[in-house]
């Protein structure tokens, strides 16, 4: 008899846990966007399939501002229904393909809610920057 009481209790606890862990995002926007994105034909090297499932790269677009600084924007989407955390790091290269080093070169932590799309943007540290590479990593903890 006692066992019978335990089953619905476990089911209820499971449902509550599922409900709290799966908060998804609803979005709304202009059906015919006015802005024209200049999409980048990107090359992807995926070594962490689990991260790619959680945080999928939708697209990359770039622009050059008035002072000649390259600006990039990456759209990523959490394809799961759970909140996910990750870090990313942007590397900039000059016209000879040499890495431009900066003291603030760091991994930036971000998180996305279930099914949410976010934009990550970065402006080149110098007008010498011509190329970029973005690295994504799952958070360790």
């Amino acid at each position: 008899m006692k066992k019978l009481h335990i089953v619905p209790l476990i089911a209820a606890v499971g449902l509550v846990a599922l409900a709290t862990g799966c908060t998804t995002v609803n979005t709304v926007g202009n059906a015919q966007p006015v802005a024209q994105k200049q999409m980048v034909n990107d090359k992807r090297v995926l070594t962490d399939a689990s991260l790619d499932r959680k945080v999928r790269i939708v697209g990359v677009n770039s622009a050059v501002n008035d002072a000649g600084f390259l600006k990039i924007q990456v759209e990523v989407q959490n394809t799961t229904r759970r909140h996910q955390s990750f870090t990313y790091r942007v590397e900039w290269f000059d016209q000879n393909g040499m890495l431009i080093n900066l003291p603030s070169y760091t991994s930036i932590p971000r998180s996305v809610e279930g099914k949410e799309s976010i934009f990550l943007s970065a402006t080149a540290p110098t007008e010498r920057a011509r190329d970029f590479r973005i690295k994504f990593l799952e958070t360790l903890n």
Binding site: I100, T123, A124
Partner: protein
Amino acid sequence: MKKTLLLSSLAALLFQAGCPTQSAYVTDQPNRYIVSGKINIQDFDQAADSMINSLNDNWIGQGKLKSAAEGEPAILAISRIKNNTGQQLDTDMLTKKIRVALNRTGKVVTTTTLGLGGAEDPLAADKQKEGEFFADQKHTRGFDYTLSGKIIEDQARAGNTRQSAYIFQLSLTSKDGLAIWEEEQKIVKQGTRASVGF
């Protein structure tokens, strides 16, 4: 006998593999830095990176940068960066990264002879004064902009979870006294104990 030897060597191997070294270098891997509730180097790196992005995007990138001497880089002086946290901080951990990044754009240089509370480089300041004296000049070129700001801390707790929020605020002021660029970066950390990662 052989079995004992084999087992003991296996155990020794496992012991070696399982034991971490006492100390190790962690180079350019912020993901592996220790994270604590206190303000740390990742926070400074992240805040500086965000500020540099904003400066490049909203100030230099928009063509708002003006130099007193045309064709030459604008001169930046570092003003007061207030530490309103309960921790002892060296605000150079933030400003130096921004200075280096601005310097590498080739459009901004920082003066080390003019500053709040005295020159950062007294020898260079003496040399500058000597040059002004012999050239019979009152002043050589002054700064075009000043950088000031504040670091604020907010602590909260719910049960075992502690939350530390750090707010980095910076303003760039022109010679006219107008804040031509301002930015705020918020970093919030939650946890029950220190860990490794971001």
